[in-house]
């Protein structure tokens, strides 16, 4: 890059005015993006990576402002540019793609119209040609039947499709710089691959520069030339993708690198060296409730699921008009979310349930956890058919305390008005034998210790805890009644990788110590590989493949499993 870079950020500091004074979200960073270059900005939540991009396009919210530094875009100083100048640049020269594509589109405007709005704004089309050009833009992002999709509303399209629309919107005016802010977070791996491949191909084709903002080091390394690692508002390392991956310099990069689950490593490998040593050397606290070590051999499996089916009635089909006049076609055969699956969970085992969204894995876990009634099939837990107990009455059943759950979003699954202590002892109050304030407090402290939550934090409310701490509260709550089976529904999906590493290790340790079995629902195959003994791969409500983790993920037999595995971003070797 001998020529001047397209985007040159120098000494940029961004401040936010908060109630407690000014907070610097970005501290004196330097980033440059050359023409045609793809740069990744990698960091965990709160690292300031998104704020940096918002500062570039000047869409910081009202409380934020650029305190210092300069942002030069092909010679124009973006910090001092007028709002009118900025409006002209946004969308035409610098475009953005956002996380959560469905929310990023206006829900009540046809997607074609939204693309038209941008085209007309930047005088790339007139009212007469706008429709044609919008359809052209849809065609370029490989949307099948673009003329039809023009009239679709975002809620009628899948997540991957919505992201394509957002890309079409961003590229409609042929900008020089594309900023993609976590463009594939929340999308399935195969969709992620399709979307990333599309972005890379389209930007290469046009000689565009790209900034990819992500928390996923693997994704960054696989798709970018250069990687900028940020931590707490500072750039800690800038290097080529290959170099970052093979020879990370900064300790934070190394920690991040280590915490990213990959092939051929163990759970312990995820932790930073000092922490890994610490956990191994700590003598296990003698848990009062520890059960004899589970031996899977020679005993009946803990859970047997046979021919489980969940059907949902299909809504009447037909056009909007037909529906209004009552002429819609009546009943279709019911939709089978889970279509006759069978598996077993042995004692002390972790069973991984993987698949993409809509494959029925969550429905299955809800039925096993008896939060949802099955249409047919048997769920046998410790020799008893619990599937016949209606979900509504299951809370009163003695089995309830033996099957518990850790939910996906650690924040949403905690009552915001309950302290951590109240949340943890909630199941004990409802079903446990422990009575009396002091005894409850003691049990809560014991549980907090068990999950590694500092005891002084248990009087705090969820909003006063970090993501990792909230995850620990959720886990403590799930194990409060010494369950035999814990269903983990993507327990780490909302966490940063370094926190994920710690939580995964915690889960493994707890399992060993308390002799529980896990059903681990996840879409992240690398995590499943680390944590699970056996794996079930699901697709459209059926089991595609099952076997031990090494078998299924090491030498997959089903085409679909292979497809999933190749879709995981592969860093440069």
């Amino acid at each position: 890059m001998a020529a001047a870079p397209l985007l040159d950020i120098r000494n940029l500091t961004v401040e936010f005015a908060t109630r407690r004074g000014t907070v610097q979200a970005v501290k004196a960073i330097d980033v440059s993006v050359g023409k045609g270059e793809t740069v990744a900005i990698v960091g965990e939540s709160g690292s300031g990576k998104s704020v940096t991009s918002y500062a570039v396009v000047r869409i910081l919210d009202r409380a934020g402002r650029v305190a210092e530094g300069s942002i030069a875009f092909s010679g124009i100083d973006l910090v001092s540019a007028t709002e009118a100048q900025m409006r002209d640049l946004r969308g035409r020269e610098i475009s953005m793609i956002f996380q959560n594509p469905r929310a990023a589109l206006n829900p009540i405007r046809k997607v074609g119209k939204q693309i038209e709005d941008v085209l007309v704004q930047h005088v790339q089309a007139t009212r007469a040609t706008a429709r044609e050009k919008a359809i052209e833009a849809l065609e370029k992002v490989r949307i099948a039947r673009p003329a039809e999709r023009y009239d679709a509303y975002p809620f009628e399209l899948s997540g991957g499709m919505c992201q394509r629309i957002v890309i079409a919107l961003a590229l409609a005016c042929q900008p020089q710089l594309l900023i993609a802010d976590e463009p594939t977070t929340g999308l399935d791996v195969t969709t992620q691959k399709a979307v990333m491949d599309l972005i890379v191909e389209l930007t290469r084709e046009r000689g565009m520069s790209t900034i990819l903002i992500t928390h996923d080091l693997g994704l960054a390394a696989a798709y970018c030339d250069k990687v900028v690692v940020m931590e707490k508002g500072r750039v800690v390392e800038t290097a080529s993708a290959a170099e970052i991956f093979h020879n990370p310099q900064h300790p934070y990069t190394r920690k991040l690198m280590k915490a990213t689950p990959r092939v051929g490593m163990s759970l312990r490998d995820l932790l930073p060296e000092d922490q890994a040593k610490k956990t191994t050397s700590t003598p296990p606290v003698e848990a009062a409730s520890a059960k004899p070590p589970a031996t899977s051999a020679g005993r009946a499996p803990l859970l047997v699921v046979e021919n489980l089916v969940k059907e949902y009635p299909r809504p009447a089909k037909g056009s909007f008009l037909a529906k209004l006049t009552g002429q819609a076609e009546p009943d279709q055969p019911a939709f089978r979310a889970v279509d006759g699956i069978g598996f077993e969970v042995r004692r002390g085992e972790t069973l991984g349930l993987v698949g993409e969204s809509g494959c029925g894995k969550s429905t299955t876990s809800m039925m096993v956890n008896r939060l949802l009634d099955s249409t047919s099939g048997r769920i046998v837990f410790d020799g008893q058919d619990i599937g016949s107990i209606p979900a509504k009455q299951f809370a009163a059943s003695p089995f309830r305390r033996r099957i518990q759950m850790v939910f996906q979003d650690p924040t949403d699954s905690l009552n915001p008005r309950f302290t951590a202590e109240r949340a943890i002892i909630d199941p004990i109050l409802r079903m446990g034998q422990v009575r009396g304030r002091a005894a409850l407090r003691a049990r809560c402290e014991e549980l907090a210790q068990l999950v590694g939550l500092p005891v002084e934090l248990i009087d705090r409310f969820p909003h006063q805890l970090s993501g990792g701490q909230k995850a620990r509260v959720g886990i403590a709550r799930a194990i409060a009644l010494d369950p035999d089976l814990v269903i983990l529904d993507e327990p780490t999906a909302a966490l940063d990788v370094s926190v994920q590493a710690v939580v995964l290790n915690l889960l493994e340790e707890l399992k060993q110590r308390l002799g529980m079995s896990y059903v681990f629902v996840s879409h992240d195959l690398n995590v499943v590989r680390l944590l699970c003994d056996r794996v079930i791969v699901m697709r459209t409500g059926q089991i595609v493949e099952q076997g031990t983790a090494e078998e299924v993920l090491g030498a997959p037999r089903a085409e679909y499993t292979k497809e999933l595995l190749t879709a995981i971003p592969h860093p440069p070797s």
């Binding site: 959560n100 009540i108 509303y153 961003a170």
Partner: protein, 337 residues
């Protein structure tokens, strides 16, 4: 569309039946003997009994109810004992007056509240935001009869800009041929501009009184709803793709923010329609509210039943209209329709 409306109408049948039963019972439970009231203070017991049997009040309740429903089916709401007119005729005369007043009031209110709410949200924390808060609080804090009297005092008594608060039309003007019952519209249809401006000047003050009162909920709702939408991801996308402020706020944010506002509008409208008795009294407005209150004080069953029933049906119709509006604004609602 027709199918949806028909389906929606079907669901309203039980509530209408419920309203018929409840109003019937309620008016019978109310204290006060209609027959005694009409016979006058000096009437003998025989005379009262005579009136009672003439009115059918000596029959058992179920029999009274059946005859009431039979009459209702024929479109007969009974006869008002105070005015001596059929209730249907009275309501047909007075409902347009109330509706016209409420509608004009609501239009004025919307014309002020919507822009104010939007501006307050866009410039959160600025003087316009504070103005919005003050206007809204002041509007609901002042009782309508007080604002009404104040307006009359200032604009009629002191400034002399407004005509005397004596009904819908000055005595010197004759009512235009009746088409809709709305004087403003009828006079325009009759191409009678003189009558139009006379009617307009009569309606302005009472409408303004209602508008001031209804400003608060509409402004508040618009502001809150706009604030929520302005923070949404798609507004950020719109801004990041360089759309003009007008487009972002008008097309993207405002339309999305309208959904809760439309609901509030419906509620405010139906509330005003039934509850503007005080305004009608202050301005001698011949509306349904004052009609119903007079009937209530006289223990006159028929007008009260007719009034409550009409209001219930209006309310149902209004909700239907709001549902349709929802479908127009939000495509997602259409699917569930």
């Amino acid at each position: 569309m027709l199918g949806m409306i028909a389906a929606r109408l079907k669901t309203t049948i039980p509530s209408v039946i419920g309203v018929i039963i409840v109003t019937f019972l309620l008016t019978r439970v109310l204290p006060g003997d209609t027959a005694a009231y009409f016979a006058g203070p000096a009437a003998s017991n025989e005379a009262i009994a005579d009136i009672r049997s003439k009115l059918g009040l000596d029959q058992p309740l179920p029999v009274q109810f059946v005859s009431y429903v039979v009459a209702l089916v024929r479109g007969d709401l009974g006869t008002s004992l105070t005015t001596g007119q059929p209730v249907t005729a009275d309501l047909a005369q007075r409902l347009p007056a109330s509706a016209e007043l409420t509608l004009v009031g609501l239009l004025i209110s919307m014309a002020i509240a919507l822009p104010l709410g939007v501006l307050a949200a866009v410039r959160q924390g600025s003087w316009i935001d504070h103005l919005c808060r003050i206007v809204a609080t002041a509007g609901v804090s002042l009782p309508v009869f007080f604002t009404g009297l104040l307006l009359v005092y200032v604009f009629y008594f002191i400034l002399g800009w407004a005509p005397a608060p004596l009904g819908r039309l000055d005595v010197f003007f004759s009512e235009p041929p009746r088409v809709t019952g709305f004087l403003l519209i009828d006079s325009l249809i009759a191409r009678d501009l003189g009558t139009f401006s006379a009617a307009l000047s009569q309606i302005l003050l009472p409408a303004l009184t209602l508008a001031i009162f209804s400003l608060a909920p509409i402004t508040r709702m618009t502001r809150a709803s706009m604030l929520a939408v302005l923070g949404a991801d798609f507004v950020r996308t719109a801004r990041a793709s360089g759309l003009s402020t007008r487009k972002v706020i008008g097309t993207y944010a405002f339309r999305n923010a309208m959904l809760p506002v439309v609901t509030t509008l419906g509620m405010v409208f139906s509330f005003l329609l039934g509850a503007n008795v005080l305004v009608e009294k202050v301005f001698a407005w011949p509306g349904v509210g004052s009609y119903a209150v007079e009937a209530l004080l006289a223990s006159d069953y028929a007008p009260i039943q007719g009034f409550v029933l009409t209001m219930a049906i209006l309310y149902v119709a209004l909700n239907l209209l709001i549902d349709i509006l929802y479908g127009v604004i939000d495509p997602r609602v259409r699917l569930e329709g």
